[in-house]
Amino acid sequence: MSEAELVLFLEASVRLGVPLALAAMGEAITERAGVINVGLEGSMIAGALAGALGALAFGSGGAGVLAGAVAGGGVALVFAAFAIGLGTDQIITGTAITLAGLGFTGAVYQARFGATGTALTLPTLAPAPVPLLADVPIVGSALFAQAPTAYLAYALAPALWYWLFRTEWGLELRAVGDHPDAAAAAGVRVRRVRALATVFGGALAGIAGAHLALAHAGTFAENMSAGRGFIAIAVVALGRWNPALVFLAALFFGAASALQYLLQALGLDLPYQLFLALPYLLTLAALAGWFGRARAPAALAVPWPLRR
């Protein structure tokens, strides 16, 4: 394997890992508050469409990312209204939100651009090499010649870790996810914290979706999130609900997806579909191996206040 191939592999790992990292770090915060949002996929696809439309309307990729965040957060707000406001079952509500997201984005896209699915030409989110750092051999161009959303993910990993484990607010959030009754007795507004954490997670998933549309594909396609929202939820468990570890787990998943480039470069002739299935198999294996020792937030997926 040559150095060029290694760089290609690392670069692809990061590129494929970044949208997962963004969505999964957001979901980690949501889950730490005791809410599992299976509607993340819906936030992501909404973010992808809004990112594309926003970039078209304002002629800039940055505006697209903002639009993606708003759309993703908005979808999560609907989830929160049902699951936190009404106390409906989180998993079923999330599944419905995902279906709604996939259905409505498809309908809006077809209504706007026709059923034939013409490829959009969008103002994309071009790679923005960081001066000096991008010149470091091998790792530099893999890590620091990415789209700006990648740098957001790099910054969020330590920031969210610090916020969650070293600040008063982070403590409150974790209390809400572990012992909501105790947190409420201590004066924490449990449902408000849960709603905010959910919307935050949705906004990050929306940014991840915008990244897919603007930095990855350069267009919007129906169902383009392709299950990444669900994988992000697996990545959260893989990273043990710790934002920094979740970030690394997302990169691991990205690397598993990028293996196809590496193995092709090595001249191994394996079926293409095996590579497509590999990340899911590796995630299953990783969950089986690590999950036993990790502990989910105690009140995860339990509505609060408990009624009947």
Binding site: I36, V38, F82, L86, G87, T88, D89, I91, I92, T93, T95, A96, I97, T98, L99, A100, L102, G103, F104, G106, A107, V108, Q110, A111, A115, E222, G227, F230, I231, I233, A234, A237, P271, Y272, Q273, L274, L276, A277, Y280, L281, T283, L284, L287, A288, F291, G292, A296, R307, R308
Partner: protein
């Protein structure tokens, strides 16, 4: 939360279901208006497409209803025991793969052997696909929401590989298998239509699951575990592990059977993109029926008609068919919200 006796007809659940359909229809119509479509024209096109003729009813609506009944039962079976199997899609594909393989490999066998073997192996394949998440939950404590979903993606790519590789039709052009043996196919129910004997299998399965839930001891235990796992273990002295395993396997088998019936009754082949998402629609089907197996027959018909109607709506009124997916989601949300509000008002007891 578990009631000792289950009433035959739950009026509360029925009113929730009716209210949910009306609410989802209303919101869907408003959204159509907002999208610049004409809701009445769209509704007329949809109704005509689903029920307008014998051909529409038998060849389109009912044919689409059959896999939804079986997958809907699969979801209800698992949810009843509190097992969140949202991977019916993958288990259905596993069943379809097994069915296609039997239908291709068993060319020498007579029909009375081949069809039962095909259906049984399809069910076994679905159960096997559900066994992995079941063992991960029971032995390792990994939540089934994630694992059943991941297994669905694996099944999708496994199907893709098989129809591009080992099971591809001999000319090697299309990503699909050769047509299965004539003897492996389910007979048509009404000559000249596409309605097949799988409709009877679906009805029989619904009756069987209903009997199991109401009359059999395992059905009661599943309800008890679903209502409260710890209460069932401590107060009811129920060993929850085997019950959870039964819920997974039964659910997987029903979904696998759905895939087998679809291959043997409709498509006669396996191909890429085999399922248009039956495993997910099944969740709406099961919930709207309040997990009642006989109710699933009715709600599956409703969603079968919705899908048939959506296709007609796209053709005749220019409304994108993906609206149907959004309407399904609205139905689920409406059921959840109404059920919640009903209980807050002090009505019936918790079930879902």
């Amino acid at each position: 939360m578990a009631r000792p006796e289950q009433r035959r007809i739950d009026l509360g659940a029925l009113s929730v279901a009716a209210g949910a359909v009306v609410a989802a229809g209303g919101v869907g119509a408003l959204l159509l208006l907002a999208g610049g479509y004409e809701p009445l024209g769209a509704a007329r096109a949809a109704l005509a497409g689903a029920f307008g003729s014998t051909e529409a009813l038998l060849s389109i609506t009912l044919v689409r209803t059959v896999p939804l009944v079986l997958t809907g039962l699969a979801v209800a079976f698992a949810f009843r025991a509190g097992v969140w199997n949202i991977g019916a899609e993958g288990q259905l594909l596993a069943g379809a793969i097994a069915a296609a393989w039997v239908g291709l490999a068993g060319r020498a066998l007579p029909s009375w052997v081949l069809v039962p073997v095909l259906l049984v192996l399809a069910g076994c394949a679905g159960a096997l696909w559900a066994l992995i998440p079941a063992l991960m939950k029971l032995r390792l404590g990994v939540g089934e929401v994630i694992t059943t979903l991941l297994m669905s993606f694996v099944a999708i790519h496994l199907t893709g590989w098989l129809v591009h590789g080992p099971l591809q039709e001999p000319r090697g052009i299309f990503p699909q298998t050769e047509a299965i043996a004539e003897a492996a196919r389910l007979p048509a129910l009404v000559p000249g239509t596409r309605l097949h004997a799988g409709a009877f299998i679906a009805i029989a399965a619904a009756v069987a699951v209903a009997w199991l839930f109401v009359r059999a001891r395992i059905g009661f235990r599943m309800r008890a575990v679903g209502a409260s796992s710890s209460a069932a273990r401590i107060a009811g002295r129920i060993d929850t592990g085997p019950i959870v395993l039964v819920a997974f396997m039964g659910s997987g088998a029903l979904a696998g059977l759905a895939g087998g019936v679809q291959v043997a009754g409709v498509t006669y082949a396996l191909y890429e993109g085999f399922s248009p998402g039956w495993g997910y629609t099944a969740i709406a089907v099961a919930l709207l029926a309040a997990l009642n197996p006989l109710g699933v027959l009715a709600t599956a018909l409703l969603f079968g008609a919705l899908e048939a109607g959506a296709a007609a709506m796209q053709r005749d009124a220019g409304v994108p068919a993906v609206w149907a997916m959004a309407v399904q989601a609205l139905v689920i949300l409406a059921v959840l919200a109404l059920d919640r509000l009903r209980r807050r008002g002090g009505g019936g007891a918790a079930r879902v």
